[in-house]
Symmetry: none
Subunit: 252 residues, 2 copies
C-alpha cells in the first residue's frame, strides 16, 4: 500500500479514536512531513484523501481541521434548527440534559475501564485546572474536564456525537456554572460530585463512575428546574466564543 494511504488511515484512526476532536486544528503539512519523515507531497495526498472522505476540512492559509461528523447545530450562527428550537422552547435545555445524562454516564463507565495512563494524566490535569479556576468563569474548565473523560472512553461514536453537541453542551454547562455556582451549598455539592467522578475513573471503578456522572448531570438538571420554579431567572445563553483548545498530537 502506498505511503500516502497508510498515513491517511493512521490519521483517520487517530481522529476518530478521539485523539483529535472535531474543529480541532491538525498540524501543518510541513510539520507532518518532517515528523513522519515523508515528503510534503504524500502528506498532501493523504490529506486530500481525508478531505474526500469528509474527515477534515482545509482552509487556505489557516490549516486543516477535523470536520464534525454529525450534522452540527451550526456554530456561531443563528439559523440552526436546534438552536432555534432551543430558544422557542426552553424545555430543550432539559432534553439536552437528559441525553447528556446517558452519554456522560456511558463515557464515564467506559473511561473507568479503558483509560490509559495518558488519558488519566489528561483527566487529572483538567481536574486540577477545574479546582484552581475561579468558578464564575468556569464554563470552559468544566467542559474540558468532561471532554477529557469522554475522550478516554475510546469510543469514536461517543466522542463525535458528544462533540457535535458541544455548543449546546457548553450552553448547559455554562448555565450550570452561572446559575448554580454562586449558591454556595450547590457549588460544594458540584465540586464533591466532580471529585467523586474523578476518583472513580482513576480507580477504574466503572459502575461508580457511571453512577457519579449520571448523578451529577441529574443534580444539575434538577437544581435548575428548582431554581426556575422558584421564579428565578435562569440564564441560558452565554456569550460564547469558540476558542480552539490546545492540541495533543503525541502519538504520531
Amino acid at each position: 500500500m502506498a505511503i500516502s494511504q497508510e498515513i491517511s488511515y493512521r490519521l483517520e484512526r487517530l481522529i476518530l479514536d478521539g485523539g483529535l476532536a472535531p474543529g480541532q486544528k491538525i498540524p501543518s503539512e510541513r510539520q507532518l512531513s518532517t515528523r513522519l519523515g515523508v515528503s510534503r507531497s504524500v502528506i498532501r495526498e493523504a490529506l486530500h484523501e481525508l478531505q474526500g472522505r469528509g474527515v477534515i476540512e482545509t482552509r487556505h492559509g489557516k490549516g486543516s481541521f477535523v470536520a464534525s461528523m454529525v450534522p452540527e447545530p451550526e456554530e456561531l450562527n443563528e439559523q440552526s434548527p436546534l438552536m432555534h428550537l432551543y430558544e422557542g422552547h426552553p424545555r430543550t435545555l432539559y432534553d439536552l440534559l437528559e441525553v447528556r445524562e446517558q452519554l456522560e454516564g456511558q463515557a464515564a463507565y467506559l473511561a473507568a475501564q479503558r483509560a490509559t495512563s495518558l488519558d488519566k494524566h489528561r483527566i487529572s490535569k483538567a481536574f486540577r485546572a477545574l479546582e484552581e479556576t475561579d468558578p464564575l468563569s468556569n464554563a470552559r474548565p468544566d467542559h474540558n474536564f468532561h471532554q477529557a473523560i469522554v475522550e478516554a472512553s475510546h469510543n469514536p461514536v461517543l466522542v463525535h456525537v458528544l462533540s457535535s453537541l458541544k455548543n449546546m453542551m457548553l450552553m448547559t454547562v455554562h448555565a450550570s456554572v452561572v446559575n448554580l455556582n454562586p449558591r454556595q451549598e450547590m457549588r460544594g455539592q458540584i465540586i464533591r460530585q466532580h471529585k467523586q467522578l474523578y476518583n472513580a475513573i482513576l480507580a477504574g471503578k466503572a459502575n461508580a463512575a457511571q453512577k457519579a456522572a449520571v448523578a451529577h448531570v441529574r443534580f444539575v438538571s434538577n437544581a435548575m428546574k428548582k431554581l426556575e420554579m422558584e421564579g428565578r431567572e435562569v440564564i441560558r445563553m452565554p456569550a460564547m466564543k469558540t476558542s480552539p483548545d490546545q492540541q495533543h498530537l503525541t502519538s504520531l
Copy 2:
C-alpha cells in the same frame, strides 16, 4: 476553490453522469495534466480525493479505474464520514452499539412516561408490522419499531442525535437481523425482548422499558461478539447492488 478540487468534482460528475463506466480506465496522470493544463501534482491530489470518496481505484503501474460504484438504490445516500470509518474499522460496530444501548434505553424510559395515545398507536402499528414481516427480509420494520419509540420520547435532542446516526443505526439493526435472526434460538429471544419492551412502554413502566431496551441492545451486541469469536463471519453491510453499465468518455 482550489484547482485540484474543481478537477476532482469535474471528474466525479463525468463519472457519475455515466461518461465513464465502472471498471473503465481513466487517462493517465500525465495525460490529464497536459490536457487540463495543470501540473501533475494537482491531478494527483484530485485523484486522491476521488479515491477517498471511493469513486476511483488506483493501481500502481496500471492506472486509475472507475470503481464499481454503489448507487445505493433509493435511500438517502448520506455518505457520512462515520460511515466510512465504519467500513474501515469494524470495531466501530460495537462502539455504535454501546451508544445505542444508552440512547435507546433513555428513549424507552421517556417513551413509557410520555407517550401519547397517538404515539402508542404508532408503536403498536410498527410492532405488528414487525411481527408479521418475514424477519429475514428486511431490517426496516425492526428499525421502524425502534424509531417509533424514540419519537415517543418527545425529546427533540434525542431524536436529532439518533436520526443523524440513522444510517449507521440501520447498519447495526441490519447486522442484527441478518446475523442473529436465522438462528432460531436467538430469534426467539429477540422477539421476546421486543415484546417485553413493547409491553413495558404501553404499560407506562418506565424503568422496565429502559431495562428491556438496554438488555435488548446489549444482547444483540454480545451475541454478535460471540459469533465473531467463534470465527463465524459477521455480516456488517447490507448487500449492495452493482451498477448499470455504460460506455464511452467524451468531454475532457
